[in-house]
Structures are given as C-alpha cells and as structure tokens.
C-alpha cells in the first residue's frame, strides 16, 4: 500500500558558519569545521538537506575545575593545570573543536589577568590545530576587559567567541567583527530574547552567517525539556523562513550533565543508581542525544567516553 505523502518542504535554511581558518585563509588551523545548513528538522533527509552533522566541542578551562567528580576528572588529572596539554588530550579523544572556557578571569575564580589569558590562548593555538571556541566568564566587566585582548591575539583564526548577551553585547560584537571571528549570542531559555539579541548584533553590522545561538542548556533531569522545546521552536521558525532565527545552535552538555546529582553521587551515596564509573558517562551522553533531536549544531562535552558514544550515535543517524 502506498503511504500518504508526508514530505515537509521547508522555506528556510539555517545559515552555514565556518569556524577556524587554515594557512591559506590567514590562520594556522589544520582543519576547519562548518556547521548549520539544515533545511529539514534533524535527520529527516527526505524533507530536505539536514545540513552538516553536529560537531563536538570539548571543554578546556583556564583554571582547574573544582567540582568534577572522579570518573570525569581522572581522564584529565594530569593536565588540568595546563590548558595546552588539556587541549591536546581533547584532540586525541576525538574533539572536532576545542572550547576554551575562561572561568578563571572571574573575580571569584582567580581573577586571571589579560596577559595570562592571552598566553593561554596562544599556547592552545600552538598545541592543537583544531578550530577554537573562546568563551568568557559571564562577568560583564571582566569579559569586556579581557575578550578584546583575546580576540586580537587570535586574529585571523576565525574563532567562535562568546557570549553576547542582551545586557552586554557591544564590546564582544565589535571585536569579533573587527578580528574576523564568529559570535555566540546568548539567551536565558527564552526564544524572544534569543531573537532580540540576534537583531541587536546584526544592527551593529555583524553578519548573520557568523552567528551561533546559545539558549542556555539544562541537563537531563534538570530542565532539559525547556531548552529542548526552545531549540525545537527556534529551528522550526528558522525552517519556516525566519532569518533572525536561522543560525546554528550551540549547547553546553558536559558542564551541565556533570553537575547533576546522577553524575556526581558516589556508589556509597547512591547504590540504587548503579555504577558511579558509568553513570555520569551515560548522563552526559543521553543529555546530548536528546538535545540533538531538538536541533543543535555544536555540542560542548567533557567525558571522552561520552564523546565517543555520541559520535557513534551521530554516525548512526547520518
């Protein structure tokens, strides 16, 4: 029996954003990563092109993380004080991109200086040839002081810089524009603010095809359904032709998943939840696989095993 025709052709296409620049393009990266390009909801290639497959960015912090549980920390214990070595390890673990998160510039977490931060960025650029995401600490004053220096130091590398918020977007937008970087626009699980911030930065002359949206991530069991539906609504708006929503989306899975009780509670604390060694890995992986269905293009992750599960899963879907 012939099946009713259920193909859903979409009017809009998510823009393609390329992160990283090779020598020929004025940078020093060995490879570049292009994300976006979807003209269908995720993996429905009978509707249209599902675009580039989701890319995995692995996190490197400028200061050693304080709260990581042992099953995660053990894979990085020897490198947490050396971002460059940490980045190398991520490259070995199969990262498509490195996400350098600058928590250490926050006044409460070390208040690291611009000079220190610039040298961290340079050390990573030398250590690995993967494209780089560089994300501030969400303290407006410190971000506005440090990110321009970081941006300048990485000029030509076509990084992805974050994040522009509704309250604080001018500085980072201006430097990203001047230094040829891509930009993360950030909203608090709010589709209207997400659109608004995209309008604000494009009004400053920032090109839409260099924007990646971040809607603040909730882990599995900790509000994932809110960002799942925000992503889904945003993607459907983009596919219906809303230009301001037609940008790729990044989500922060690793950090959120490893904060969950389910990933952190030891065998003694939660015997009924099963193996501590395996539990967090699965929590992170399933947070990622679920969000992938909502329409995300870059996934920030931490555990090497979760990364390999998710990469294999993505292969199974493409």
């Amino acid at each position: 029996m012939e099946i009713a025709n259920i193909v859903d052709k979409c009017a809009g296409t998510v823009s393609e954003v390329t992160i990283g620049a090779t020598k020929d393009e004025g940078g020093t990266r060995g490879k570049v990563v292009t994300v976006g390009g979807a003209n269908s909801i995720p993996f429905m290639d009978f509707d249209g092109s599902p675009g580039h497959k989701p890319a995995i960015a692995m996190d490197v912090y400028d200061v050693a993380p304080e709260e990581w549980p042992e099953p995660l920390l053990k894979h990085y214990a020897d490198v947490v004080n050396s971002p460059a070595d940490w980045a190398k390890k991520c490259a070995e673990y199969g990262a498509d991109l490195i996400c350098l998160k600058l928590d250490g510039i926050h006044p409460d977490k070390g208040n690291r200086s611009a000079d220190e931060t610039v040298s961290t960025v340079k050390s990573i650029l030398e250590a690995v040839d993967l494209p780089l995401i560089i994300w501030g600490c969400e303290n407006d004053e410190r971000d506005n002081e440090i990110m321009p220096k970081v941006s300048e130091a990485a000029k030509g590398e076509r990084c992805l810089l974050g994040g522009a918020t509704q309250e604080n977007y001018k500085t980072i937008t201006a430097v990203s524009l001047a230094d040829g970087h891509n930009l993360i626009t950030q909203a608090p699980v709010d589709i209207n603010i997400g659109k608004q911030i995209n309008i604000l930065v494009t009004d400053l002359g920032f090109p839409t095809d260099r924007i990646v949206m971040f809607q603040t991530t909730g882990a599995l069991g900790y509000g994932i359904e809110y960002c799942y539906s925000i992503h889904e609504r945003g993607r459907i708006a983009a596919l219906s032709g809303d230009q301001q929503m037609a940008t790729p989306v990044i989500c922060d899975v690793g950090h959120e998943a490893w904060r969950a009780k389910e990933a952190k509670a030891s065998d003694e604390e939660a015997p009924q939840w099963g193996s501590f060694a395996d539990r967090g890995i699965m929590w992170e992986a399933i947070t990622a696989t679920t969000l992938i269905q909502s329409g995300v293009d870059i996934i920030r992750m931490n555990h090497p095993e979760s990364v390999s599960i998710v990469k294999k899963h993505i292969e199974n879907l493409t």
Binding site: A4, N5, G221, E225, E262, I286, K312, N316, L317
Partner: protein, 445 residues
C-alpha cells in the same frame, strides 16, 4: 480528517432545541469541531450522523492498552508532532528483555533485577513498565513455563516474543488475564497470531521492514478482528527507525492515514548497550509507544526513564513542588534558612546545591504558582507580603534561633522590604544556585 463546524452542523437535527445545553445547533457544532463538546450531549442525533462523526472524531492514533491492573499502560492517542504545540499524552512504555533460555538461577536473578528498575527523581517514582520475555529457546513448553513464572513474579506488564504461533499460544494461555503484548507477528504468521490475539483479547504487534508492508498488514489484521495493534518497523539502523517513526506519526496526524494510526514499538537487538540506550532515548523523544531494550543496568535505564519524564511533562504547566519548609540534611536551630519559589526546577536546583554544600539548611519554597524567581518577582507573585506569609505559615521562627533569611541574589532588591516586613535580617545570596556551596561555606559560616 477532522470535520469543520459547518460540516458537522449539516449533520445535526438543526432544531435548536437546547437539550445539549447550547443555545443553537450551530454553537454545538462549533464546540464539537473544537472538541469542547461531545456528540452524546445531543439526544436527537441520527444514527447516520453518529457514524460519520464517530469515524471522523476517532483519534488519529489508536490508544492501545497493554497489561492489567496498576501497571497497565496506554500508548498512542497522541495529537501533535512537537510537544510545544500541545503536549505528549501517553508516556512511552519502557520494556526490558529477558530470555527464556537462561538457567533457573540466572533467570530469577535477572527478573528480580528488572523488577527493581525504579528510581525516585524530583519527588516522583519513575519505573520501567514491561518485561519482554524472549523465546530464544524456541521451545513451546519452556516458553510457557517462563511466561507463567514471569507473570506470577512481577508487578510489571508483559511482552511475549516468539515467531512461532504455537509457542505463543502456549505462553499466552498461562497469563492471558495479564493482557500481554503478543510480539512476533509478521507477514508469514500473522493469521495465526491474530487468531490468538482475538481469542485471548490481547494486543498484538506486527513486524515488517517497510511502512508500506506495515500498512497492508494492519488492514488485514483489522479485518481478522484485532484492532489493538502495535507497529514494529524491523531495522538495524537508528536513522531508518527514527525516520519511520516520524513518517508514521505524520501520516496519522497530518493525513489521517488510518492504516498507520497505531502506536509503534522499537527494538534494536544487535546494538551494543551504549548505542542501544542512545537510540532508545531518541525514540522516546520522537514518537515511540514502547522502547524495548536488552540493557538492564540501573545507570542505563535511569537516563531513559528521565528522558521520558522530561519530554512528557506538560509544557504549558510548570511542574511545582508543594510550597512548604523543606529540611535538607540534619538541620538544627542554627541552620541557615533560604527561600526560593515552588517551581520544581528552581527548587530542585537549589536543593541540589544545598546538598552539595553539605551544610544542613532549611529551604522555604514560597508558593508562586510554579514560576521561577525572576518571573514570580516581575509578576508580583513574589514580594515581601508573600514571603512573610510563607514564613508565618511554616512557623519558621520556631525552627531556628536566629532571624536571618537568605534572599536569592536575583531579587536582592526585595531585601530592604523583607527586612522591614518580617524584622528578619535579609542576607543577599548568590544570583545563581551554583554559587550556594561557596556562599554557605564562606559567607554563612
């Protein structure tokens, strides 16, 4: 396809008798179209109209019940493709497999393990729904014995898997009152399987590798007298199944394609556990009625049950906790008192961080109709009066010997007013719950 109000109006008596409680037949028709009224409210409707309207108003995806008693599940009867458009109604059943060829000790051990796959999250117990008994032995009496053993030793519902109709009949006969799902019908054996389903009044699945075949088969099975059908697209490829589930849901909802208007079950037996669980998580989010997995470790099943719990919450209705004073850890009269709202996500985030700090504390969940701190504040559902009342209602002043209240950093602006109203000292806490461990360890101490 759903009928419009005017199309329905043409089928009504047009007497404006008001017996249905509406002023006119047209008003009643409009409400029928919007599913705000039921046809049985009209005492004079003709049999012909009943037939037409009944068929048109049947749900596009049939509700299929499996099991009996407390753990009976209903799957199907969904209205939307995206949860934000309305909500997903009937949570995906999670089934864990058990092979009939395990030796007695291993069989009992695994069954006990499956029976124990339940967890408490955000104050709710979440649990798997079904044991799927696999006829790997190929033996009828063994399968029947094991079916009987499972049905007598589990509170869960059952799926019986066998491609042999003879074996299936033997097994179903031992536990027909439990209404197991008969799983194993395909284009070769469907007639015999349908006969068992009909005789025993049990639901059955139908397996085929393409949707076209599935659509053909459901028609035949329906003609044979069975309508509680579950679709199983046989594939070893995640993408193929995901696309199949999507096509089935779209065909049923957007095209009223009745032949595929049934819930679906997924099973990918050859996948390694991590990939099996990853695929199952996706199928829960995207339209499976049942996911059947071989994985049975708590750390593999808990994420699946959590995906289901999250995706099937009502997006229009914030999940709330009871507004009251919660104790975290071994509190005493010197323990800190924090307040937050009764939006469950907010509350459990705060609770999680307080737990992480290992400093026992009282958390006052102020009733704000389940809105977050900032939303409640801007909607005037969180102000000094509401907070003072919550403090009085919960008699917090009898619980501690100090008068210090930790205010969420996001509403620091309320501090002075709270202080004035309650005569408690208002301490401004961190803006994000993640700052609480540091705050409690340093500032509070």
């Amino acid at each position: 396809m759903a009928l419009t109000g005017l199309e329905i109006f043409k089928l009504l008596p047009k007497t404006n008798c008001k017996k249905c409680g509406r002023a006119t037949c047209l008003a009643f028709a409009m409400q029928l179209a919007q599913k705000k009224a039921e046809l049985k409210d009209c005492p004079d409707v003709s049999e012909e109209a009943k037939g037409i309207l009944g068929a048109a108003s049947a749900p596009p995806i049939k509700l299929v019940s499996i099991g009996s008693g407390d753990k009976q599940i209903g799957i199907g009867e969904e209205n939307v493709l995206f949860r934000h458009d309305e909500k997903f109604y009937n949570p995906t059943g999670v089934a864990v497999t058990l092979s009939d060829d395990l030796d007695d000790a291993a069989f009992t051990e695994k069954l006990n393990k499956i029976n124990g796959l339940k967890f408490t999250r955000v104050g709710t117990e979440i649990e798997i729904d079904l044991v799927a008994l696999l006829n790997n032995s190929g033996d009828a009496s063994k399968f029947a014995d094991r079916a009987k053993q499972v049905s007598e030793n589990t509170h869960l519902s059952l799926i019986l898997e066998s491609k042999s109709a003879e074996n299936m009949k033997a097994a179903v006969e031992t536990c027909a009152d439990k209404k197991p799902l008969i799983f194993g019908a395909n284009s070769d054996n469907w007639e015999a399987m349908a006969a068992i389903a009909k005789e025993m009044s049990c639901p059955m699945s139908i397996s085929a590798s393409t949707l076209e075949e599935l659509a053909d088969m459901t028609e035949k099975i329906k003609e044979a007298g069975v309508t509680d059908i579950v679709l199983n697209q046989v594939s070893e490829n995640t993408k193929e199944i995901l696309q199949g589930l999507t096509k089935i849901r779209r065909a049923a909802l957007k095209k009223a394609f009745r032949q595929l208007g049934y819930p679906a079950i997924t099973y990918m037996p050859s996948y390694e556990p991590a990939q099996e669980v990853a695929s199952a998580s996706v199928f829960i989010a995207k339209y499976a009625g049942i996911v059947m997995v071989n994985a049975c470790e708590p750390w593999q099943i808990m994420p699946l049950l959590t995906v289901r719990q999250n995706i099937y919450t009502d997006p229009q209705k914030p999940v709330q906790v009871e507004p009251k004073l919660y104790e975290v850890g071994q509190v005493n009269e010197n323990s800190p008192v924090l307040f937050t709202t009764n939006f469950s996500l907010t509350y459990y985030t705060v609770e999680g961080e307080v737990e992480a700090s290992r400093i026992p504390a009282y958390i006052l969940a102020v009733g704000t109709e389940g809105t977050s701190v900032l939303t409640a504040y801007s909607g005037d559902k969180l102000n000094e009066d509401v907070i003072a009342k919550a403090m009085a209602d919960t008699k917090v002043e009898e619980k501690v010997s100090h008068k210090k209240l930790i205010v969420p950093g996001l509403v620091a602006i309320l501090s002075a007013k709270i202080q004035e109203k309650t005569k408690w000292e208002a301490l401004v806490g961190p803006k994000e719950a993640s700052g609480l461990p540091t705050y409690l360890k340093s500032t509070w101490n």
